[in-house]
Amino acid sequence: MRAANLVKLLFGVLAVVFLVAPLVAILPLAFTSSVFLTYPIPGYSMRWFNELANANVWRMSIINSLIIGTGTTLLAGTLGTLAALGLRNAGLILPGLFRTAFLLPMVVPAVVLGVGMQVFFVHLGLANSYAGVIAAHSVVAVPFVVVSVTASLAGIDRRVERAAASLGAAPFTVFRRVTLPLALPGILSGAVFAFATSLDEVVLTLFVAGPNQRTLARQMFSSIRENISPAIAAAAFLFIIGTLLIAAVALLVRRRTERLKQQVVEV
């Protein structure tokens, strides 16, 4: 029995190391003073973060990522939230069909979608434009919003809304004062997912963006390909910190939902 436990422990440790070690290994290299992305690190400096902030290509790509990410969050967030509210309505015809259709952008390979968008956007006059990149990112971000908002709406006790309606609140008032506040955490985490999806998107960007819409992810992709430098590790550091922040926000949001639900139950 002890041998079996030892094997279990060893496997568990190895697997966790396999999953987590790459992410940990890249972090210290962001602070290297060398021009090589290798260990051992000769000295520590902030030079690669300075490079990100000051070199034109990196600075522009960070600004582009923020613009496109914000646009995607607003567009995908709005469309996805509305659709999730519609899906919740029992009167909707063919709900299964709509749900499947809304998830399909997660399934279709990015390169396939990219080729289609490249061909189609030229006809539409959206090639090499911010609007085009935001639309492309929104297509792949919107399933996350739909899933997240649908999940939070499913957690709302219908009786609360009916109680508000029976007390004389108009449907829109019920929505604004009851449904929306309860669904807000789901909407926020959906928006966070949409932003993160846009931030990480490379393939569609490769197809539809022009040189002026080069995002941080796109810039990282080409610099890994062409001239690998520790600036990539610094950019990765920012990504990982961003991820941890997102995880923290998601956790806070979940706590808040649970507290809200608690309050509703207590009322």
């Binding site: 987590v20 009167g91 015809i93 990015a110 396939v112 080729v115 449907p171 990480d200 992709f221 990504f239």
Partner: protein
């Protein structure tokens, strides 16, 4: 809010309509235009509209009728878009060698005599050859199966029969097989690690389980690009893995880990492992915890209880996870592009090459159509499996 009255029904539709419209324009339409690129061949019909109108009347076997020849001459007289003419000549030349000089000579003759009939055979003897007329007539068909056939390494011969391309020109089947092969190896690697991992996560409690789940979720939440960059750093020649092995004295020179198949499989397994662990985990959670003790109390040794009870029950999770991993793996672009060598590129890289590198939309569309159909078929099976599971409970 949830009334099923006509008004409520309309309200629900109005709420989903914006997203439906958005996805119709920016998701469905691009896919349709990609599929259209795969089968469309518009140059000939645009350059020779009159010829296109009469080409259908010719049986392709007898001598080309006079009206076809006259229509072609009239088309050549009418054409004033040099770009379009150039595209058309290129298109004809790709179907039948010799069109470049033939068309140059013919255009000069047409320019010299802007009115009336011209005996084309007198201009160039090749016009007496039905093969050239067949190429002209065929080029006016706005649709073609050329790209789809070429994507699978087939072509049509002069008489229209489908035949395999010569071995030196057939790269696509090899790439399709390679894509499936890498997908299969990654799926198996994920299953071999993912199944015991999920079982381990279910068998422990408290912080241990949180740690195991967190270790799966953290990579899932981390940017794909960051994870690929991280593997690049680990696997490179002076990377952490080679340095460690060398300082331990296990190897004397760096192992080739990057820009080859091994590196691609390692990095893709890491990226896709969460998609295997999570479905298996959720299936295992639903298995009653007293089944294994029950098997043991009936006298089954642990390995037997595992083989006969736990493994069959968890198989559904393994199948779901495998479909998910395989489906995602065959569409991968970034990881093979950055970690792999020239011999490890998958179908997505070839599609990207045709689309971005050489503006060959027909081939990009045809290969894209194959990948799209394969992915959607796998997704349909996956959807059926998970629907069965939800319905079976």
């Amino acid at each position: 809010m949830s009334d099923t009255s006509a008004k409520g029904r309309l309200g629900a539709l109005a709420l989903v309509a914006p997203l439906v419209l958005f996805l119709a324009i920016f998701f469905a339409w691009p896919l349709v235009s990609m599929l259209k690129e795969a089968v469309s061949d518009p140059v000939g019909s645009r350059a020779f509209p009159l010829t296109a109108a009469v080409a259908g009347d010719w049986d392709r076997q007898s001598d080309p009728p006079q009206e076809l020849q006259q229509a072609f001459i009239d088309d050549l007289r009418a054409i004033d878009d040099q770009q379009l003419l150039g595209d058309a000549v290129r298109r004809l030349n790709s179907a039948q060698n010799g069109f470049r000089t033939l068309m140059g000579r013919t255009m000069r003759a047409v320019e010299e005599q802007p009115q009336g009939p011209i005996d084309l055979v007198e201009v160039d003897k090749r016009w007496a050859d039905a093969r050239f007329w067949r190429a002209v007539a065929d080029s006016t068909n706005p649709y073609t199966d050329r790209y789809l056939l070429a994507a699978l390494d087939y072509e049509r011969d002069a008489s229209g029969r489908i035949e395999a391309l010569p071995a030196e020109a057939s790269a696509n089947t090899a790439i399709l097989l390679r894509t499936l092969g890498i997908g299969a190896v990654v799926t198996i690697a994920c299953a071999l690690i993912g199944l015991p991992y999920a079982m381990l996560a279910v068998s422990v409690e408290g912080w241990k389980r949180q740690l195991l789940l967190g270790a799966v979720l953290l990579p899932l939440w981390t940017s794909l690009l960051v994870r690929t960059a991280a593997w690049f750093i680990l696997l490179q020649e002076q990377g952490l893995i080679n340095d460690t092995l060398m300082s331990l004295g296990l190897i004397s020179r760096p192992l080739p880990l990057i820009f080859n198949r091994l590196g691609v499989v390692i990095a893709m397994t890491h990226v896709l492992l969460p998609f295997m662990v999570l479905p298996i985990y959720s299936v295992l959670l639903s298995i009653p915890r007293n089944l294994m003790p029950a098997a043991a109390s009936l006298g089954a040794p642990p390995w037997r209880a595992f083989l006969r009870v736990l493994l069959p029950l968890s198989l559904r999770g393994v199948v779901s996870g495998s479909l998910l991993v395989f489906m995602t793996a065959i569409g991968y672009y970034i990881t093979p592009a950055l970690i792999g060598g020239a011999q490890d590129q998958m179908i997505s890289s070839v599609i990207a090459f045709y689309a971005i590198g050489s503006a060959n939309w027909g081939m990009a569309g045809a290969l894209g159509a194959i990948l799209l159909v394969a992915t959607l078929a796998l997704y349909a099976v996956y959807g059926r499996l998970s629907a069965d599971r939800a319905g079976g409970r």
